[in-house]
């Protein structure tokens, strides 16, 4: 018996076979989870809401990167730059042309997708580390263009973005932005989950597993690779648009190579080729980073022998050690750990 579903859960229709949520317990957990999530602004301060918003925006970009890396096997080191394309498209459209949020969002997604396709063109001839170098170039080329197109982007200075609004209602606080960001994140995750279950998603997986075999079976490898780049960067564009509206002031230093590298790290730590993995990876890295930054300044108070000046800069060291230890003990990512947990729960009280 497969352990993909709980004991005694059988499909009697095609709808049931395709369902993401199947059991009563899963429905209850989903509804309770959503109610908890959407009521968060009622009992949380701005700090928690900022963290949730920030995690959700990063999550959208990481889910997109996971489609490219985890499902199609293409490496990208330019996801933050593509997010920058989305953010600057939003900034330019909203700041200079007065576009509303609802027009800026799809435009940003489309623009990031198109730019992604352009930088995905080398994937016809190169892959692996060589492709990562091509996408690394995207990070530098895009940022240089943004810095030098001063009249449009503001150059090194900030480009201010007006708060999104529906009629007279202005989304000008973390709690209000929460109601834009979180539903869109859920929608994008749902979209990603479904893409990988379609013929396109299966073609991506075939290309990842063996691109030669995929081509022999009739998959147009090049066009599917470009589609993967397009979809991945549409996600980055949506994330960039939401980031621009959350910060309301964007500059090139918000989309750095380090951000791109960490997005890749989130995919690895979560587990490549798993939407749940992207979610876990993003929450783990962002949460750990924040936890370390919160805890480190209080270390000298807890251990008086430590001199404040010698300890407070240790945050990144602690962060790195935790990540290394994690990767040693769970190289297949958090998604694998989650699968192991689910399997043991479903098989309980039996071991196998």
């Amino acid at each position: 018996m497969s352990i993909d579903r709980p004991c005694g859960t059988y499909d009697s229709s095609y709808d049931q076979d395709m369902a993401i949520v199947r059991t009563r317990l899963q429905w209850i957990l989903l509804v309770v989870g959503l109610l908890f999530l959407f009521s968060l602004p009622l009992y949380s301060g701005n700090y928690i809401l900022y963290m949730v918003n920030n995690i959700c925006i990063t999550l959208i970009a990481v889910v997109g990167l996971n489609i490219l890396m985890g499902y199609c096997g293409l490496v990208s080191l330019g996801q933050a730059a593509f997010m920058g394309v989305g953010a600057y498209t939003t900034g330019i459209l909203a700041h200079h042309l007065g576009f509303t949020f609802w027009l800026a969002l799809p435009s940003s997604a489309l623009m990031a997708g198109i730019v992604g396709v352009l930088f995905g063109l080398p994937s016809l001839r190169i892959k692996g580390f060589y492709l990562s170098m091509a996408t690394l170039a995207a990070q530098f080329i895009i940022m240089t263009l943004i810095l030098n197109a001063e009249s449009l982007t503001g150059g090194a200075s900030s480009l201010s973005v007006p708060a999104p609004r529906i009629g007279d209602f202005v989304f000008n606080s973390q709690s209000k932005m929460f109601y834009l960001i979180v539903p869109l994140t859920i929608l994008m995750i749902f979209f990603a989950k479904n893409i990988v279950r379609t013929g396109t998603g299966r073609a991506f997986i075939a290309i990842r597993d063996n691109d030669l075999a995929a081509e022999v079976t009739g998959i147009n490898v090049f066009s599917y690779k470009l589609v993967a780049f397009f979809i991945s960067n549409v996600f980055a564009g949506v994330a960039g648009c939401l980031w621009a509206y959350t910060m309301r002031s964007i500059n090139p230093e918000q989309f750095t190579l380090i951000d791109s590298v960490w997005m890749m790290g989130m995919v690895f730590i979560g587990g490549q080729g798993s939407i749940a993995g992207a979610v876990f990876g993003t929450i783990f890295i962002r949460g750990l980073d924040e936890l370390v930054r919160t805890v480190t300044p209080s270390l000298p108070a807890l251990i008086p022998q430590l001199k404040a000046e010698n300890v407070i800069g240790f945050g990144p060291v602690i962060f790195a050690v935790v990540v290394i230890v994690f990767l040693i003990y769970e190289p297949r990512g958090l998604a694998h750990r989650w699968e192991v947990f689910k399997a043991s729960y479903r098989l309980n009280p039996f071991t196998y």
Partner: protein, 412 residues
């Protein structure tokens, strides 16, 4: 299946709508009760986000120890109207997202921040609107024109980088052989590019200085020979950089490798002229390096403030750094602002507007390490002087003067 999806959609829509209505509804009116006598807070919390583990780490050396020491000193003298200062700190690692998270974390703390210091230019840029919305007065040591203007809740206790560059131009025209062919070699960042403005370019033209090149490099780059080769090809005889001292050492070392130290002279913004980075890292290459600076130096012990800082730094067994020089003077000024505001409006009405009114009264205020003049139109200091490295020590070669105003034309 369809029924389940419909039910789920309804639940989600209802929960979103309910939360939106609840979250955005006006606060319930409190029944009117007699106003209790105003109690002083137990402490004035100073919240600070600093990069102590990223690219700015070398420059903020000693920042934490110096703040703690400054508070110990001021609190021993009675603090603000008897209320002590308290320090809460978070490391940003130079990451903007971490800096914004720190800002939100501070806002969620009790008491919420009223007065802050933000050092990194990119963070300043990102938070400038939020400071106004949240009623927080922020002082910075990174006066980028795009952050400083329009003047709102942001102030700088150092002159803007554009003004400092203008002051350098005044000096170079007055004292150096002509023609002056100037090249900018600066960081590729908000901070570094703060001198690449039309106001600076126009001022150079007005002074008869030809700007022959504008080159940028990365904050952590350890070699700029490529940029210097291009600058040399364009015939520059002066190179000015808006960078920190550790990168100026990189510029000087690259110039030495190319044999350019005799061919062109080097200068930079106030943050290049730091003993704990420039002279320590560049060694003999820094000899004769001349640049504007607003900071007094450790050796000026005839100034009582500098004498005091020397004593306190020695007592704390801390390494000498520019942060030690600035911090106590900055908080003595902040204490004066608070005292003035409390005298004017009392503890109960103490807010950003009251602090701003006090700040804008400062006229050649003696910070100990420099002077500070702030007005409603200009929220940044204007006092600066030329300094030079002689025998490994930074010494002043002129008195404090007002830098030219190179603020965006619309705000002059």
């Amino acid at each position: 299946m369809k029924v389940k999806i419909t039910c789920l959609s309804l639940i989600v829509i209802i929960s979103i709508a309910a939360s939106l209505i609840a979250g955005c509804a006006p606060a319930a009116q409190q029944p009117s009760t007699p106003v209790p006598a105003v109690k002083k807070p137990s402490a004035i919390v100073f919240y600070q986000m600093l990069d102590v583990s990223g690219p700015y780490a070398a420059d903020v050396q000693g920042a934490i120890g110096s703040v703690n020491d400054a508070f110990e000193y001021i609190n021993s003298k009675g603090g603000v109207d008897g209320v002590p200062w308290k320090f809460v700190f978070r490391d940003t690692g130079g990451d903007l997202k971490a800096a914004v998270a720190a800002y939100e974390a501070f806002k969620a703390m009790d008491p919420p921040p009223l007065f802050m210091q933000i050092t990194e230019s990119a963070t300043n840029e990102a938070l400038k609107d939020k400071l106004v919305e949240d009623g927080i007065v922020a002082f910075t040591s990174g006066a980028v024109p795009s952050f400083m203007y329009p003047p709102r809740n942001q102030y700088s206790f150092v002159p803007s980088y554009a003004d400092v560059c203008g002051y350098f131009m005044d000096w170079v025209v007055k004292t150096q052989p002509k023609p002056i062919k100037l090249a900018f070699l600066t960081w590729d960042s908000v901070f570094g590019r703060a001198i690449l403005t039309d106001e600076v370019r126009n001022y150079a033209k007005q002074k008869g200085i030809e700007i022959v090149a504008e080159e940028v490099f990365g904050m952590t780059q350890m070699d700029v020979t490529t940029q210097l080769t291009r600058i040399n090809d364009k015939g520059a005889n002066w190179v000015y950089s808006n960078i920190l001292g550790q990168s100026e050492a990189v510029v000087l070392k690259s110039a030495q490798q190319l044999g350019l130290l005799d061919k062109m002279k080097f200068s930079g913004c106030q943050w290049t002229m730091l003993a704990h980075t420039l002279t320590k890292l560049a060694g003999p290459l820094a000899e004769g390096y001349t640049a504007p600076s607003q900071l007094r130096n450790w050796e000026e012990t005839d100034v009582p403030y500098i004498k005091l800082i020397n004593e306190r730094c020695k007592a704390a067994k801390a390494e000498q750094s520019s942060n030690w020089i600035q911090t106590l003077g900055f908080f003595l000024m902040a204490t004066d602002l608070y005292n003035g505001a409390i005298k004017e409006v009392g503890w109960d009405k103490l807010n950003a507007a009251a602090l701003k009114r006090q700040a804008e009264k400062l006229n050649k205020y003696d910070l100990g390490f420099s002077y500070l003049t702030l007005t409603a139109k200009k929220h940044e200091s204007t006092w600066v002087r030329m300094e030079q490295v002689k025998n490994g020590i930074i010494v002043p070669i002129g008195d404090y003067e007002m830098a030219p105003n190179l603020a965006p034309v619309a705000y002059r």
